[in-house]
């Protein structure tokens, strides 16, 4: 992560009264994942491309294109999350606690694949969003 401090990311944390191993199964076994997230053809293999499928609505085909980026069993899982031209990364982190597991979700990045090829400028999504949020806030 070489993004500046303006990085836009969404973090949600919750402690759950279950061991990490069990939560890991719910995060990484396709049929279990479907029970609470979305239909998918996920496989716990780094580099595996897969799709989450939701009900299509007008203007959105309901498909999220993903690729497994990182797997550390019972601890960390990361995949890309691309839909509507917006590419982000979802990372799950499981930390054992006395009462169970702290489950942390971070959705970050918001940068397009072309960014790396864009020479000389730093117009990543994150910086752009930070700048533009101020512009839009000033409109009200």
């Amino acid at each position: 992560m070489n993004e500046p401090a303006t990085t836009r990311s969404l973090v949600i944390e919750r402690e759950m009264p279950h061991p990490p191993e069990k939560i890991w199964r719910a995060l990484t076994q396709g049929p279990l994942l479907e029970e609470w997230l979305m239909k998918n053809d996920f496989q716990p293999v780094v580099g595996h491309p897969f799709k989450f499928r939701s009900t299509p609505v007008p203007g959105w085909n309901g498909i999220i294109d993903s690729e497994v980026l990182l797997i550390e069993p019972n601890s960390r899982l990361s995949y890309s999350w691309s839909t509507m031209g917006m590419n982000s990364v979802v990372t799950w982190t499981l930390t054992p606690t006395t009462a169970g597991t702290r489950v942390r979700l971070e959705q970050t990045g918001f940068r397009s694949e072309q960014d790396a090829a864009y020479k000389g400028a730093n117009y990543g999504w994150t910086k752009f969003m930070g700048n533009m949020e101020r512009v839009v806030a000033a409109l009200d």
Partner: protein, 109 residues
């Protein structure tokens, strides 16, 4: 539904870093013509014009003709749906956390 289509256009228009740069330039520095934008964009004038067409389609920029020149300005209020995106995902993931928790309970049974 119309709003979703508009969001889609905004995301598509801004998925390209050159277009983001052009849009940000207009939002910060005000109205510009194609020549001035080309000087900053690092791509050819036809390419800039094409990018401006896509931004205009998404209603992110507006054009104004003055004689032989066309001037472009940013319409940052068109970004609102995109900024709402963060709010959308916050609600989405909170809901999925609830579902995950209730699913974990059912896994025990």
């Amino acid at each position: 539904m119309q709003a979703q289509l508009a969001t889609d256009h905004v995301f598509t228009a801004l998925s390209d870093p050159t277009r983001r740069a052009i849009f940000e330039h207009l939002a910060r520095d005000g109205e510009q013509n194609v020549r001035a934008l080309t000087a900053r964009a690092g791509v050819s004038q036809p390419a800039v014009s094409k990018h401006l067409g896509i931004l205009k389609h998404a209603r992110l920029v507006r054009d104004r003709r003055a004689g032989r020149e066309t001037h472009y300005s940013a319409q940052p209020q068109a970004l609102k749906p995109m900024i709402d995106w963060m709010t959308f995902y916050a609600a989405f993931w909170h809901d999925r956390f609830d579902r995950l928790e209730s699913f974990l309970q059912r896994m025990d049974q």
